[in-house]
């Protein structure tokens, strides 16, 4: 590979020819550079989208610090170059390199990709190509880095199974060290690449796709997943931590503006609400909380180490964090030496208490107050298991305007199973009522932003059996909303139905989808997450060239006994529980928050031993003697 100093020299000749060259040089405050020869193992961490989005990513920040704490390891970073820079790199023969030492990615021992969403798949291929690393794992040998990937879009790893050597299913903080240890002992023994993969497959939470092979029925569904090696585990169980470790406080501070210039602290992992459309809420179970003391200390330390003035306290449902009131009280009382500090707390419940919480944080009211009711009729709310009455929603929005926020932001989702135009009309109605409330309170200053996303059935959720709503129907629902919701101070956003389709076929794709991803990439698909770059035609042609039917993945109602391409990946929540939830949804039956009462999703028996190793009340499953079923 091109040596680092030559990469540096070539870079100097191209950087002033591209937009925002600061994306490509590193040098951030808190960056860690170790002498290349001083360590045994070198890891490159890659976020397959541009620097501006990748730098603030919390997952990679955690792994960067975990790995660099080890004296025997160095971890450096790479992101996707924007189109102008990619062109320059290819023209000048600059391979994908790490920002810290400017080494080619192919010179690292391990390259890890963060895949939080499916529309980063083609970028992953593009980056391997830009790094001169063979795309298919079958074409790589001992001279190539080990390619690993993790993140929410790898809980169904099959669409990327051809390209990734090892998937990390679940939480990476512990297992990343085990991967490095295993790699080191393999390397010192000088074994074959296959030996390394087999050794890694023995670690809890790792999935090595080459050790498994799906067999298909004539109708294209899975007949069974075959093990190709006796020692390979089946199913592969996700990895979790019994207790959340001390949060990262050493954040990289960029020298250019990025999307989030802030400290991010996860206050809680997992969710007990059980919204049936929600992928994150199911795959991140069980709920584990961090103590308020630790969060406050981390905020202090992180502010000191970064100079930031903004802190985001992250979780899937902030209001459900048991110590939420204590936490905000302490922040407002104890962090007074930061007069311009702003703290954001996303995902608050639709109730007036949420306003009290945000007011305590002294945040600016100019940004608006965000709520996510997701649906506007009781029927729909029961189906998706997110029961918030219209009265409660209106009471909350009324209070928001009354207390001085001028903008309410509401998020809804269309295309839920069995949704009708009446259900969508109800969204328009409730939005109009909300804006009318605001106008009554503060006149024409009152504003409403409405975000309408489209439901995509996801693997490992109660809706994994359902078919997507037809694109024509989605378009007519969007037309209805666009017609009904216009006027001054009313902003409406929606997602492109074609982009929704792509997310849909990738989310529940099988291993044959890998060929489609490859063919789409070959036809120019990349930056699929960017509306102006999304190339639907490339994907259409890719499906044709592979002889696969999109509708099979998107618009097919699965039978209840179908074996799914991801069934050999266990997230701890049983498939039978998801099925029960699916059937309850069809009968409009709600499932309560499981924080007080266990409904036997499967997490507890699966991780019982781990829970015993980490006693205490941070783990929020209730103590059970005999769970209620049905």
């Amino acid at each position: 590979m091109l040596p680092a100093n030559e990469i540096q020299t070539r870079l100097e000749r191209v950087l002033l020819k591209v937009q925002k060259p600061g994306r490509y040089v590193g040098g951030e405050y808190n960056q860690i550079i170790k002498p290349w020869e001083s360590v045994r193992t070198r890891v490159a961490l890659v976020f397959p989208d541009i620097y501006d989005l990748g730098l603030p990513n919390l997952g990679l920040a955690i792994l960067y610090n975990e790995l660099n704490q080890r004296p025997d390891v160095l971890a450096e970073r790479a992101y996707a170059p924007w189109l102008d820079m990619e062109t320059m790199m290819r023209q000048h023969g600059i391979p994908l390199y790490s920002l810290e030492s400017k080494h080619a990615l192919a010179d690292f021992d391990i390259v890890g990709f963060s895949l939080p969403y499916e529309n980063l798949y083609t970028n992953t291929l593009n980056l391997l190509d830009l790094a001169n690393i063979p795309l298919f794992s079958s074409e790589r040998n001992e001279t190539h880095p080990l390619i690993i990937a993790g993140g929410h879009a790898t809980y169904n790893p099959e669409p990327m199974a051809d390209f990734i050597d090892v998937f990390v299913i679940g939480e990476g903080e512990e297992v990343i060290h085990e991967i490095v240890d295993t790699y080191q002992s393999w390397k010192s023994n000088g074994g074959a690449r296959a030996d390394l993969l087999i050794a890694l497959s023995q670690l809890d939470g790792l999935y090595v796709p080459t050790l498994y092979e799906p067999e298909y029925k004539e109708d294209g569904t899975i007949a069974r997943i075959k093990k190709l090696n006796d020692t390979a585990p089946l199913p592969v169980r996700k990895r979790i931590l019994g207790r959340l470790p001390e949060p990262t406080w050493r954040f990289l501070v960029p020298n250019i503006d990025v999307v989030h210039n802030r400290v991010a602290i996860e206050i809680m992992r997992g969710c007990t609400r059980g919204c049936r459309f929600c992928h994150a809420g199911i795959i991140t179970r069980p709920v584990r909380e961090r103590p308020p003391e630790q969060i406050i200390n981390t905020i202090r330390k992180a502010l000191e180490y970064t100079g930031y003035e903004e802190v985001a306290l992250l979780s899937l449902s902030s209001s459900d964090y048991s110590h939420i009131l204590e936490l905000v009280n302490r922040i407002s009382k104890e962090l007074t030496d930061y007069p311009n500090l702003s703290i954001s707390l996303p995902s608050l419940r639709i109730e007036t208490v949420s306003l009290d919480i945000l007011e305590k944080l002294r945040g600016s009211k100019s940004g608006g107050f965000t709520l996510a009711p997701e649906a506007a009729t009781d029927r729909m709310r029961n189906i998706i298991n997110k029961p918030i009455s219209t009265e409660q929603l209106l009471e909350t929005t009324d209070a928001i305007y009354r207390r001085g926020w001028t903008t309410v932001k509401l998020y809804f989702m269309i295309g839920h199973p069995s949704e009708t135009l009446e259900d969508v009309m109800a969204i328009a109605d409730v939005c109009k009522t909300v804006l009318a409330q605001g106008r009554k309170i503060m006149g024409r200053r009152a504003a409403l932003h409405v975000g309408i996303s489209t439901f995509v059935p996801k693997a490992h959720t109660p809706f994994q059996w359902t078919a997507c709503d037809n694109p024509e129907v989605i378009e007519s629902k969007q037309r209805l909303l666009k017609r009904e919701l216009k006027g001054p101070n009313l902003k409406l956003n929606w997602t492109d139905p074609q982009e929704t389709l792509m997310e849909a076929w990738l989310s529940r794709g099988d291993r044959r989808m890998g060929r489609v991803v490859f063919e789409a990439w070959k036809r120019g698909a990349k930056f699929d997450a960017w509306h102006d770059q999304f190339n639907f035609d490339a994907w259409q042609e890719a499906f044709q060239s592979c002889g696969l039917d999109q509708n099979f993945y998107t618009h097919r109602l699965r039978t209840l006994d179908e074996i799914f391409p991801w069934d050999h990946i266990s997230i701890g929540v049983r498939k039978s529980y998801l099925l029960q939830e699916y059937q309850r949804s069809q009968r409009s039956l709600l499932r309560e928050d499981c924080r007080n009462q266990c409904y036997a999703c499967g997490i507890l028996p699966e991780f019982n031993q781990l829970r015993r190793l980490y006693p205490g009340d941070h783990w929020k499953c209730p103590e059970v003697t005999s769970p209620i079923s049905g």
Binding site: R13, L15, P21, G22, G27, N340
Partner: protein, 225 residues
């Protein structure tokens, strides 16, 4: 309230950071140093910082100036320097730091010229370069268009010379360009006028020249390099 003037270098990768983003770097560095930044009044209070003489993206500098207002009376400049050193990112080096009167005029109003040293990455024969420089110097006017406006570059070039270092493999160009309000020459424009690709040269601003020497106040602290 105290007003502190910092003279520093902006080097290496920071040449890819814009003037506006450098402001953010200082804000964050000062906060990391736990220095009590003074804020402007109003609905959106902003930290009181003033970077003199904006540097174009892509240019390094050995003579940058920033004025910082601090909400305190007792801190010594030595203490300020000490607190700041650890908090700065790579690529920023402080040369000198002094307390100046609160009513001191901004350096922007006093600057008259700036000197540059340019390392050329394209390899043109020295004789050819010399010919182009001579031609440029003897021209009466050099009309160029920037942002759809025409202007004459020639009067903005106060001095230009090619370095005659024994090491011929590195060609260096030295410039002194006018930097008065409304009459500021750009080094990249001079390179273009010489038929050179400004994006493949390393431009460094080596010195700012003022009509009278800048106030150094009583409590100057100079770094020994």
């Amino acid at each position: 309230m105290k007003r502190i003037r910092i003279h520093y270098s902006k080097l290496e990768h920071l040449r890819y950071t814009s003037h506006l983003d450098v402001q953010k770097i200082w804000e964050r560095s000062l906060r990391r140093a736990r220095l009590p930044l003074a804020y402007s009044q109003g609905f959106h209070p902003q930290p009181r910082l003033n970077q003199a003489c904006p540097l174009p993206l892509g240019v390094t500098s050995r003579d940058e100036i920033i004025d910082v207002w601090l909400d305190c009376d007792i801190l010594s400049v030595a203490k300020v320097l000490d607190m700041l050193q650890k908090a700065l990112p790579d690529g920023i080096q402080i040369h000198q730091i002094n307390e100046i009167p609160l009513n001191e005029p901004s350096p922007d109003n006093l600057v008259v010229a700036a000197e540059y040293e340019i390392t050329l990455l394209e390899n043109l024969p020295l004789s050819e370069l010399e010919r182009r420089v001579t031609e440029l110097v003897s021209a009466q006017s050099i009309i160029r268009t920037r942002r759809e406006k025409q202007y004459d570059l020639r009067p903005l070039i106060e001095e230009i010379s090619l370095s005659k270092e024994p090491n011929q493999s590195v060609q260096k160009l030295r410039l002194r360009l006018s930097a008065r309000p409304g009459a500021t020459g750009r080094a990249d424009e001079v390179l273009s006028a010489l038929g050179l690709d400004a994006t493949s040269a390393c431009i460094e601003r080596t010195r700012l020249i003022f009509q009278e020497s800048l106030s150094l106040g009583q409590k100057t602290l100079q770094r020994k390099d």
